[in-house]
């Protein structure tokens, strides 16, 4: 099903993608990473994106978050159509309205935990709010590590900083690309719990790429991708059902 291009996304929709395509023409053969993806994500919901390697999950997230330009199609975040914003406006929009958590933690190595957290405010020429900063650090359990440098943190701690940074500007939506992919399962589970709690506390919309059926089972909706297209959507599926579906797609 696709949403007609001329219809505004309903107010309850946080993110709407309409027939989004992304083609990479770097090699001798063009690579179609996304082949007409249409998707609507409700405000305050948790959407998991699953699919085999190379199915276009990361590309979908990068394009939806405005990190990468789609080859064609329309992307609306909140009430803003970001597909036609110029690069400067898109960056400013992204900075204010979109949070992103990467698999690699992407902290600036020479900035302390609290400085990394303040980065979105600094970039926006705003004075960081110390109360908000403390609150975020408490939410991710790092209130005692504000002055540490990223090199003095464990992987899990670094990812908590990235989560706090994504929440800092109270964005319309947070995209997370396998945020626990580089962590052991125990730390990963704890990070996900932190992320889910924070998202619930601040009523944030979360779109997360994950390989973990357990994580996906906790989502409001699971979107299955294969070969750059949405092939299935499931709400309320169990971990076993999700696992089964992913296995079928991988075949």
């Amino acid at each position: 099903m696709s949403i007609p291009a001329n219809v505004q996304a309903p107010p309850t929709t946080a993110v709407a993608l309409t027939d989004v395509r992304k083609t990479y023409a770097t090699g001798p053969q063009p690579v179609h990473a996304l082949r007409g993806v249409s998707l609507a994500v409700s405000k305050g919901s948790f959407t998991a994106v699953m699919g085999p390697s190379g199915s276009g999950k990361s590309t979908l997230l990068n394009v939806a978050a405005g990190l990468d330009q789609p080859s064609s199609g329309r992307i609306v975040i909140g009430d803003t159509d970001i597909s036609h914003l110029n690069p400067e406006k898109l960056t400013t929009f992204r900075r204010r309205r979109v949070g992103f958590i990467f698999q690699s933690y992407n902290l600036l190595p020479h900035l302390s935990v609290s400085e990394n957290l303040r980065l979105p405010w600094w970039l926006d020429n705003q004075t960081p709010d110390p109360a908000r900063e403390q609150e975020l650090l408490r939410a991710v359990g790092l209130q005692d590590m504000a002055h540490r440098l990223p090199t003095e943190l464990s992987g899990g701690q670094a990812q908590r900083v990235a989560i706090a940074r994504a929440l800092a500007t109270q964005p319309d939506v947070i995209f997370a690309d396998e945020p626990t992919g580089a962590l052991d399962s125990h730390t990963g589970a704890s990070i996900l719990a932190t992320l889910r709690d924070a998202v619930a506390t601040y009523r944030q919309t979360l779109v997360m790429v994950t390989h973990d059926p357990q994580v996906a089972a906790a989502a409001d909706e699971v979107v299955f991708l294969a070969d750059g297209a949405v092939v299935d959507r499931a709400a309320g599926a169990s971990a076993a059902q999700i696992s089964q579906r992913v296995l079928e797609l991988g075949r």
Binding site: N62, L67, P87, E88, P120, W122, L123
Partner: protein, 628 residues
């Protein structure tokens, strides 16, 4: 954003310090040259060596220093910023706009540059003072000379260096601001494989400029053509720097296909690194190539000019014996020698200092008036049709017999833009001025000097020096004349010895030019070492990864050794190749027969310096391997 800037500086202090040091040295070189040039221009006596020689010597040094400084400063900034690509991409990923990244980089570049300019100016004023004893020993300044330090050289240094630094930062920032935010997310960090169209165009333009400069001596023979030809080396090096990554990529791809390079892990890795990090390798090769190229060209052209001078002097004199002595004995010596049996002809010459006006005076800057006068010497012939043949190409030397006439070397005409029939403005040591008419143009300016006047010129010139009598003996009478002259108390030397001695005199300031050249080479050496340190600094992660994958330290050391060898070979080859066209051009333009002018020992020294610096850079990286 200020916090981000300050933290970044703190985190990257080694490369920031390297760039700062490079910029300090560049500022110091230009500032010191400026101070000495200005001191010369402010000298009250226009005929003192301080006024005539100091601006010329320091001007030619300063010119080379400026070109080098611009080159080295911009490449140092580019290299240190490239090292931080990932950090800038990361900032883009967390929402920094392209404009914010650009302003971050510009602020940092200008901050470092301004601080370095101040420190460099202080260092430069000490440097200028330190050169004084050497300048005095070379006779370029008088006893009691002290450099005048004003604000002008600092302004000049700022006007030259700040825009270069700003532009380098701007170009690097343009590349960084263009980075897609997703490039921070991806883990690949290899250099971009293609060059921007602007860069490719600029490389072709520099190559074309270099070729044009190389062919100049064919159309503009003589010293001017030779000097232009030599400037081709710098244009070629710039072309190499611009096209470098593409050249390195091709070279490394070719190497990677050789069986020899595929036999061992270390060589496979080294060629793969060269391919993947072609920009990094270019940044290491280019300053070293510049070292070899500039060193060869500077010394080579100087030697070619000296050789050409000797050839022209030898060709011009048709006599076989020469007398030199005190001015008061000159007239007697000429008469005595002319009267000796076996002497076929004699010609007496004297020289006088003179200044030639080469451009109109600027009313607004009276002390700059000194710049529109070129110091030179006039050769005065008692008999213009005698034993000295300056190789007249236009006009007639016989016209020098008349008053107010002068012959001008073709090389010098290009400066004044005048020809036969025009008048030139001359200033004499006694303060008088004259405006003789050009009656002839001659070619042997390198051997005889820029101006020749007839017997009447002596009256106008005032004080003269180095009186010389050239003697032509009848066939087989040379020994008899030598003995007769000695009996009369006049010592004669064969022409060949005289030419040799005259050439040696003209290169008496070679110690100074060697010291100045060494200063420039040391500057390039430091800059090249700095570039290598920056290039290896960012590789800790790569070494750690190789270690995790099972590369032994020995393999990594071998890999670094091969990389250093690639850098050294490429630098020596490119440095030599870029120097050759200019040297060949200079030789074709000035010297009969073929001579490159390059001292093989000096060239070997330059090549060895390049090799040592390349391996010293690798040794720095080895320490890093050990630390991991």
């Amino acid at each position: 954003m200020r916090q981000v800037s300050l933290r970044a500086l703190r985190a990257h202090w080694p490369s920031a310090a390297g760039v700062f040091l490079t910029m300090v040295l560049a500022s110091a070189l230009i500032f010191a040259s400026g101070v000495l040039i200005e001191s010369g221009l402010r000298e009250s006596d226009p005929f003192s060596p301080t006024a005539t020689m100091l601006p010329a010597v320091m001007g030619s040094f300063g010119g080379v220093a400026i070109m080098l400084a611009l080159f080295v400063v911009s490449s140092a900034f580019a290299a240190s910023l490239r090292d931080r690509r990932r950090e800038f991409a990361l900032l883009r990923a967390v929402g920094a706009t392209g404009g914010q990244v650009r302003s971050l980089i510009s602020t940092e570049v200008m901050g470092i540059s301004l601080a370095a300019l101040v420190v460099g100016s202080v260092a430069g004023s000490f440097g200028a003072g330190a050169l004084v004893p050497l300048l005095r020993a070379s006779g370029i300044v008088e006893e009691g000379f002290a450099p005048v330090v004003s604000v002008l050289p600092m302004l000049g240094t700022a006007v030259l260096l700040l825009p270069a630094a700003w532009l380098a930062g701007r170009l690097a920032a343009r590349e960084m601001a263009r980075l897609s935010p997703t490039s921070a997310v991806s883990t690949t960090a290899a250099d971009a494989r293609t060059l921007s169209p602007g860069r490719v165009t600029a490389a072709w333009v520099c190559l074309a400029g270099g070729l044009t400069a190389t062919t100049t001596p064919i159309f503009v023979p003589g010293a001017m053509g030779g000097a232009t030809g030599a400037s081709s080396a710098l244009l070629f090096i710039t072309a190499v720097a611009l096209a470098g990554p593409a050249l390195v990529l091709r070279g490394a791809t070719w190497l990677a296909e050789r069986r020899m390079m595929r036999a061992r892990a270390a060589s496979v890795l080294a060629t793969a690194n060269a391919r993947g990090y072609s920009r990094r390798l270019t940044a290491a090769v280019v300053p070293l190539a510049l070292l070899v190229s500039l060193g060869s060209v500077q010394t080579g052209v100087n030697r070619t000019v000296a050789e050409a001078g000797a050839q022209q002097l030898g060709d011009a004199i048709s006599g076989d014996l020469v007398w030199q002595g005190a001015p008061e004995q000159a007239a007697d010596a000429r008469e005595t020698l002319a009267g000796l049996t076996g002497v076929a002809a004699v010609t007496a010459t004297e020289t006088a200092m003179v200044q030639v006006k080469v451009e109109a005076t600027d009313e607004d800057a009276p002390f700059m008036d000194r710049l529109s006068w070129e110091a030179g010497s006039v050769l005065m012939l008692d008999d213009p049709s005698g034993l000295i043949d300056p190789d007249v190409t236009e006009g007639d030397l016989a016209a020098l017999e008349g008053a107010d006439a002068v012959a001008v070397a073709s090389d010098d005409l290009t400066l004044t833009g005048k020809g036969v029939g025009d008048r030139i403005d001359l200033r004499h040591p006694d303060g008088s001025e004259s405006t003789p008419t050009i009656v002839a143009v001659f070619d042997r300016g390198l051997g005889l000097g820029g101006l020749i006047m007839g017997p009447d010129g002596l009256d106008a010139a005032g004080a003269t020096e180095s009186p010389t009598v050239i003697v032509e003996t009848a066939s087989g009478e040379q020994n008899a004349v030598l003995q007769a002259a000695e009996a009369a108390g006049l010592a004669l030397t064969p022409v060949d010895d005289y030419v040799e001695a005259a050439t040696a005199m003209s290169s008496s300031d070679s110690r100074l030019s060697n010291v100045l050249l060494m200063v420039l080479l040391a500057f390039i050496g430091i800059a090249a070492g700095n570039a290598l340190v920056i290039a290896t600094r960012s590789r800790a992660g790569e070494f750690a990864l190789l270690g995790r994958l099972g590369a032994t330290r020995r393999q990594m050391r071998a890999m670094l050794g091969i990389e250093a060898a690639l850098v050294a070979v490429a630098a020596v080859a490119l440095g030599t190749l870029t120097a050759l066209p200019g040297l060949v051009g200079a030789s074709l333009a000035m010297v009969r027969g073929f001579s490159l002018g390059v001292d093989p020992m000096f060239w070997a020294g330059l090549a060895a310096a390049a090799v040592v610096i390349a391996f010293a850079g690798a040794a720095g990286a080895r320490l890093r391997v050990r630390a991991d």
